[in-house]
C-alpha cells in the first residue's frame, strides 16, 4: 500500500468525519465547525493530488517531477472563500444565539415557527 493511497483514505475519513458532525451534532456552532473540518479535508485532498514528485513548482528543474501548480492555485481561492464563509457563519450564529437564547438547531426552528 503506497503512502499516497493511505493519505488519501485518511483525508477521505476526515471529510466523512466532518459530514458526520454536520449531520448529527445539534449545536449550531459544532455544525459550522464540522463543516470547516470537511472543507479542510477537501483542501488537503487537492494538495495531495497535486503532489507528484515532491518538488515545489518553482524549485523544479524540468521534467514531471515538480508538483502540479493548477490544483494548488485553485485551492488557494477555495481556502479564502471557505474562510470568509466560516467567519460570516460564526458571527451570525452568535447574533442568532442572542435572540433565541440557544444554539440547538431544532429548538431554534421550533421558536422560529412560533414567532
Amino acid at each position: 500500500m503506497s503512502v499516497s493511497f493511505l493519505l488519501r483514505m485518511l483525508l477521505l475519513a476526515v471529510v466523512l468525519f466532518g459530514l458526520w458532525g454536520v449531520l448529527f451534532r445539534r449545536n449550531l456552532l459544532f455544525k459550522v465547525l464540522a463543516m470547516d473540518i470537511m472543507n479542510t479535508g477537501v483542501i488537503s485532498l487537492y494538495v495531495l493530488s497535486a503532489r507528484r514528485g515532491g518538488v515545489a513548482p518553482v524549485a523544479g528543474t524540468g521534467g514531471d517531477a515538480f508538483a502540479d501548480p493548477l490544483p494548488q492555485a485553485v485551492i488557494v481561492t477555495a481556502i479564502v472563500i471557505g474562510f470568509s464563509i466560516l467567519a460570516l457563519l460564526i458571527v451570525y450564529v452568535m447574533d442568532l444565539s442572542r435572540h433565541f437564547h440557544t444554539l440547538d438547531a431544532d429548538r431554534i426552528e421550533e421558536r422560529w415557527r412560533r414567532d
Binding site: M35, V42, Y46, I81, Y92, H99, F100, W112
Partner: protein, 503 residues
C-alpha cells in the same frame, strides 16, 4: 478589432463593471439606485448585441489548463434576463428608503451572476457561485428581522455544504481528465458528475435538495426575493444546463429531476395560504420546467426570471401576505392589472414570453415527460387563479385551519421599501419585456393557442374544485437538519440511480 478583443470587452462590461460599480457605491455610499440601473442597461445592450451576433466567442485564458469563457447565445439569454430584472428592481427601489448596502450588494450580485453565465470551466464556476452565495446571504438578511437571520443562515449553511461536494467533484474530474474545462466532462467518472450536480442542484433550488428556497425567498424582502428568484436561482441552473450538454449521465439526471420538481412545487403551491411562499413554491416548480429539457432550458429560465420577479415586486406592494384576506377593495386597480398580467404570463397565456417558452419546453420534452409537465402547467394555472379571481369583499376573517395561524400577522409583504402607490415604471418595463420576448419566441399557431387556452381553462376548473379546501402539508423537510440529510441522501440515490440506468 479581433474577435477575442471584442470578447474581452464583453467580459469587462458584464462582469468587471458591475463588480467595480458595486464596490465604489458601497465605499462612497452615494449614487442611490443609479449603479444598479446603469450596469443593467449597459449589460442589456451587450446581451442584445451578443444575441444578434453570428458566432459564439470562446476565450481560452490558460491554454491547456482549461480556464475558459464562452460567450454564446445561452449565456447571452441568461445575461439578458439578469439585466432586465436588475433594471426593474432598480426602478422599484427608486422611491422610499432602503438600507445603504442594498443596492451595492445587488450590483455586485448581478456582475457575479454574469460571471457564472459566461464561465466554461468548473473552477471559475465554483468561485463565482460561492461569491453569489455570500452576496445572497447578505441580501436575505438585509431587512434585519430575526426571522430572516435564521433563514439566511440555513441558506448559507446548506449551499456551502453543497459547494463542498462540488469541490470534491471538481477534484475527481481533474484527476481523471487533467483539465477543469467543461468540454472534457463527457469523459468524467460518474461519481464526479453526481458530486458536481449535487452542489449545483442545491444552489439552483431543484427538487428536494432545493427546499431551503421557499423559506429564504418567502422571508426576504420583496425586491430581494425578486432578485433571488429571477437571478440567483439561475446561477445554479446555468452550469447545470451546460454540464448536461456535455455529459449524458448528467442530462439523464436532469430529465428525471425536472418533472419531479415541477409537480412537487405545484402541489405545495396549490394549498399555500401565504402569497410570498406561494410564489417561492412556484419557483421550485418552474425550476423543474427549466431542467426538464436542458437544450431549451435557458429560454424558459429567462422568461421565468421576468415574470417571477414581476410577481414578487407586485406581491410586495400588497397590504397583506394572507391570500384569503385579499379582495377587490384592498388591492388597487393598477396593482391588480400587474398581478393579473404576471399570473397570466406564468400560466403560459399568449402573447407573453411564458407561452413561447412553455411551447419550446413541451416541444422538446420526451413522451413520458409531457403528461407530467402538462399536469404541472395546469396546476400552475389553478394556483395563480387565486390572484385572478379576487372576491368582491374580503372573505370573513376566520382562522379555521392551523396552516393559516402559522402565518405572520398582517404586515406589508414588502418589508423595506413599500411605497403605497400603484403601478410604476418597473411594471411597464417588465410587461413590455415579457411581451417583446413573447413576440421574439413566436409560435402563435391556432393549434398551440387553443392548447394554451385549454390548459388555462383546466387550471381554472381545478381552482373552482379546490376552492376553500386545505391540506395541512408538513414542512418538516425544510428544517436545517433535514435539509442536510436530504442532500446526502440525494447524492447516494442519484449515484445508485444513474449507475443502474446508464451502465
Amino acid at each position: 478589432m479581433t474577435e477575442s478583443g471584442a470578447g474581452y470587452l464583453f467580459v469587462l462590461l458584464f462582469v468587471f463593471l458591475p463588480l467595480c460599480a458595486g464596490v465604489v457605491a458601497a465605499v462612497t455610499g452615494r449614487g442611490g439606485t443609479v449603479p444598479l440601473g446603469l450596469c443593467a442597461v449597459l449589460s442589456l445592450a451587450g446581451a442584445l448585441r451578443l444575441l444578434t451576433g453570428e458566432e459564439a466567442i470562446r476565450l481560452v485564458l490558460l491554454g491547456s489548463y482549461g480556464v475558459e469563457l464562452l460567450l454564446d447565445r445561452v449565456a447571452a439569454t441568461f445575461i439578458f434576463a439578469n439585466s432586465v430584472v436588475c433594471l426593474a428592481v432598480a426602478l422599484h427601489l427608486r422611491h422610499g428608503s432602503v438600507p445603504s448596502l442594498l443596492v451595492p450588494v445587488m450590483t455586485m450580485l448581478s456582475g457575479t451572476a454574469n460571471a457564472v453565465f459566461l464561465s466554461y470551466d468548473l473552477f471559475n464556476i465554483f468561485v463565482a457561485v460561492d461569491l453569489s452565495t455570500i452576496l445572497g446571504f447578505l441580501l436575505i438578511r438585509m431587512g434585519r428581522k430575526p426571522r430572516q437571520i435564521w433563514s439566511s443562515i440555513k441558506y448559507l449553511f446548506v449551499n456551502n455544504l453543497g459547494m463542498i461536494f462540488y469541490l470534491l467533484g471538481c477534484l475527481d474530474v481533474y484527476r481523471h481528465v487533467g483539465t477543469f474545462s467543461l468540454s472534457a466532462l463527457s469523459g468524467a467518472p460518474l461519481s464526479a458528475v453526481v458530486l458536481l450536480m449535487g452542489g449545483l442542484v442545491v444552489k439552483g433550488g431543484l427538487f428536494l435538495p432545493g427546499l431551503w428556497l421557499p423559506e429564504a425567498h418567502g422571508e426576504a424582502d420583496a425586491p430581494v426575493s425578486a432578485l433571488l428568484s429571477g437571478v440567483v436561482v439561475k446561477i445554479g441552473l446555468a452550469p447545470l444546463l451546460r454540464i448536461a450538454g456535455e455529459n449524458e449521465a448528467a442530462r439523464g439526471l436532469l430529465l428525471v429531476l425536472g418533472p419531479a420538481a415541477a409537480l412537487w412545487g405545484v402541489f405545495h403551491a396549490l394549498f399555500e395560504k401565504d402569497a410570498k411562499r406561494l410564489l417561492a413554491y412556484h419557483t421550485l416548480s418552474q425550476v423543474g420546467f427549466i431542467a426538464a429539457v436542458p437544450s431549451v432550458g435557458h429560454l424558459y429560465a429567462a422568461a421565468h426570471g421576468l415574470f417571477k420577479s414581476w410577481l414578487f415586486l407586485s406581491v410586495g406592494r400588497l397590504l397583506t401576505r394572507r391570500i384569503a384576506a385579499l379582495s377587490r377593495e384592498t388591492v388597487s386597480r393598477s396593482l391588480r392589472v400587474a398581478l393579473v398580467l404576471g399570473s397570466l404570463a406564468i400560466s403560459g397565456c399568449p402573447p407573453f414570453a411564458g407561452f413561447g417558452a412553455k411551447l419550446r419546453v413541451m416541444g422538446g420534452a420526451l413522451p413520458w415527460q409531457e403528461p407530467l409537465l402538462l399536469l404541472a402547467a395546469v396546476g400552475t394555472a389553478a394556483s395563480f387563479a387565486k390572484f385572478l379571481f379576487l372576491p368582491r369583499k374580503g372573505a370573513p376573517f376566520a382562522l379555521k385551519d392551523a396552516a393559516e395561524k402559522e402565518l405572520p400577522p398582517v404586515s406589508p409583504a414588502g418589508g423595506m421599501a413599500t411605497p403605497s402607490r400603484g403601478a410604476g415604471f418597473e411594471d411597464v418595463w417588465l410587461g413590455a419585456a415579457l411581451f417583446g420576448m413573447g413576440l421574439f419566441l413566436g409560435g402563435f399557431e391556432a393549434k398551440e393557442i387553443v392548447k394554451a387556452v385549454l390548459v388555462l381553462g383546466g387550471g381554472w376548473g381545478m381552482f373552482a374544485l379546490l376552492r376553500g379546501r386545505s391540506l395541512p402539508l408538513s414542512r418538516s423537510l425544510e428544517t436545517m437538519e433535514n435539509l442536510v440529510g436530504v442532500l446526502v441522501l440525494f447524492l447516494a440515490v442519484a449515484l445508485l440511480g444513474v449507475r443502474t440506468w446508464f451502465f
